[in-house]
Structures are given as C-alpha cells and as structure tokens.
Amino acid sequence: MAGETTSSTYYITHHLQNLTFGLHPEHGWSFAHSLEEARQMGFWAIHVDTMGWSIATGLLFLWLFRHLGKTATTGVPSGIQNALEMVFEFCEGIVRTSFHGQSRLIGPLALTLFCWIFFMNALKWLPIDLFPQIFARFGVDYMRIVPTSDPNVTLGLGFAVFGLIIFYSIRNKGLGGFAKEMAFTPFNHWSLVPFNLLLELVVLCVKPISLGLRLFGNIFAGEVIFIMIALLPFWIMWVLDVPWLIFHILIIVLQAFIFAVLSVVYLNAAFEEH
C-alpha cells in the first residue's frame, strides 16, 4: 500500500515537472535531473519544454494565418480557408464590439492571443502519457507539453498585456493624464487622493495577475484531473476520461476567448478618456 502511494505521488510529481535548463549552484548551466535540482536553480532557469511547445504552436498559428493571407482569394472561400476566415472574423467581432478606439494593434492582438492560447490549450487533448513516453525513449526525463499549465506562460502573457495597457495609457492620456486618472477616480476630491491611488493601483495590478492565474488555474486543474484519471485501471478510465475530455472542448475555447476579450477590454479602457 505504501509502495503504491509513493509510486502514485511520483507519477504525479513527475508529470508536473518541467524540463528545466538553468544555472545550478553546483553543476553550472545544465538540465535539472530532479525536482530538487530545478528548485535550486531559482530564477535563472528556463522551462525548455514549455518554451519549445509554446513557440511551436505560435509558429503553427502564424504559418496557418500567413498562408491564409497569401492564398485568400476574393472569390468563394472553401474548406480550411473558410474555417480560418471564421476564426479571423470572430476575433474581428471581439474587437468591434469591445474596442471603440482606433488602433492597428488591437485586431492582431486579439487574433494572436485567441489563436495562440487556443493551440496551447489544445495540446491537452493529446494523451497525457504520449509525449513524456516518446521523449523518455530519447533520454529526456521530463516533458510537459501544455504550455498554459505553466504559470510562467500565462503570467508572461498577462504581464505583456499589462505592459501594453501602461504604454497605451501613457501614450493616449499623457503621463499627467494617466496619473490624474489614477489619483482622482473613483472619488474626485483632493483629500481622497491617497485612497484613490491605492485603489487604482490594486485594480491595475490585479488585471495581469487575474488574466494569468485564471487561465493557469483552469488548464492546470484540468491537467491534474487527467493525471488522476490516468492512475485508474485502464478498463475504467474512459468513464471519467471521456466526459472530462468533452468538457475540455468547452474549457479550451472558452479560456482562450476570455483571455482575448478581457485583454481587448482592458486596452479599450487604456484608450478611452474618462
């Protein structure tokens, strides 16, 4: 019994460990061979699997839509072109309904966020053990293929959007205008400036963190459940696996959609005068 518990624990922690390359205090720049080593590397480490899969899906997205842009005919669209155009027009719709300013950035931003996050999430549809097993044969110990179950990815995207919010707020309202907005909303009185500042700073900083943690939480929780299901005997797995997988068709699209829409809404606030 005790042995089974440790093997289950090992299985779970193994599946939740990224392939980490970083500066180890003793071994220098190297791959981490255990959870302990990865932890010792601290900040100066990079999750190779996360980066690799996220960049691969990003390139897939760019290639698909670049291909669409090149081959898009003005005539009757067909097949894959139709599907991609639907996605494109969906993102354009998000921008049209949620964004009221003029910017060349927002459309591509919505498209990139939605499609990239969708593709990254979609890697969860692949069997949980498939890629770790394949890579294990080539001597790679750890492999997590769903980049959005790594908080580095989701928070990275969140902070990137946060950077854009700050940049466009200052560019459109000026540094003074931005500071004034921070100091005099929601209460337009000089005596309440510190309170307003505190409130607005919290609101501002919560935006990227909520964006990142919402996506991370949904995808990570889903992955953990998949790992738990994978611990069951193989003949009963499908009872839980199939409904959970079908449920994730919704989660994967929905989380990508929420991330894109909220980013557009936040940026709209950065463009609008109050």
Binding site: I46, G69, F88, L105, L111, P151, N152, G156, A160
Partner: protein
C-alpha cells in the same frame, strides 16, 4: 511550478508573434476580405441595376407591342375601307359602262333604223316609178317625173 526566466522568454515570444501578426498576417487577410466585400457589394449593385434595366426593357417591349398592335389595327381598318371603296368604285364604273353600252346600242339601233328607212325610201321611189311606168306603159318624161316621185318619196 516555479517562476523563472521562462516568464521573460514568453513575453519576448509573445512580442515577436504579435509583431509578426500585425505586420504580415493581419493586413493581407483584412485586405482580401475587404476586396471580397467590395466584390459582393458590386455584384449586388450590378444585379439591382440589371433588374431595373430588365423591367425597363420589358416596359419598352410592351409599349412597342401595343403600338404595333394599334398600327396593325389601323392598317387593317384602312385596307377594309379601301376595299369597300374599290368595290363601290367598280360598281359605279360598271353601271356607267353598262349605261354607256346601252346608249351606244340604242343609238346604233337608231342609226340602223334610219339607214333602213333611207334604203327603203330609195327603193320605194324606184319601185313606185317602175310601178307607174308599168301602169302607164307609156313613156314618160323620166326626168320630169323623177323629180316629182322623189318629192313624193321624201314625203313618205
């Protein structure tokens, strides 16, 4: 599960993807879709115009048809009156001709009668003279009596 350089790497990757999307992906698709919209709009306008033209052409054809129908009716009417006129004329001509022929015949008959009368008159004179000669059996001064008999014949 730890926050590390991956976060920064991800931000850089996102920035690059976003830049690429903005520069090379978004504009051609927007352009193609706008061109298609324009084409569809043009096509619909063209169809509207064609429909208007068609109805106009139909009206025109209707108008032409009506006009030609009226024209045909007019021509027919004219022909009918003309035919009637011709029949009437022919009838008149025939009557006039007939009357003329009758008159001719009548005058011929008259002249014929006159001639017969003349001949008869001449023969009567001769016969009378011959008869008288035979009755008298005498020689009569022919010249003298001839004159007398001629006067007699003229009185017939």
């Amino acid at each position: 599960m730890t926050i590390n350089m991956t976060l920064i790497g991800q931000m850089i990757a996102f920035a690059i993807f976003l830049w690429f999307c903005m520069k090379y992906v978004w504009p051609p698709i927007t352009k193609a879709l706008e061109e298609r919209q324009q084409r569809i709009r043009d096509g619909l306008e063209e169809a509207d115009r064609a429909r208007a033209e068609l109805s106009q052409a139909n009206e025109q054809a209707e108008e032409t048809l009506r006009e030609s129908r009226e024209e045909a009716a007019r021509i027919l009417e004219k022909a009918r009156t003309r035919a009637n006129q011709m029949i009437e004329d022919a009838r008149d001509d025939a009557r006039v001709e007939g009357e003329r022929m009758i008159a001719n015949a009548r005058s011929e008959i008259d002249s014929e009668v006159q001639r017969a009368k003349e001949e008869l008159r001449a023969q009567v004179a001769t016969l009378a003279v011959q008869g008288a000669e035979r009755i008298l059996e005498s020689s009569i001064d022919e010249k003298k009596h001839r004159e007398m008999v001629d006067r007699l014949a003229a009185e017939l």
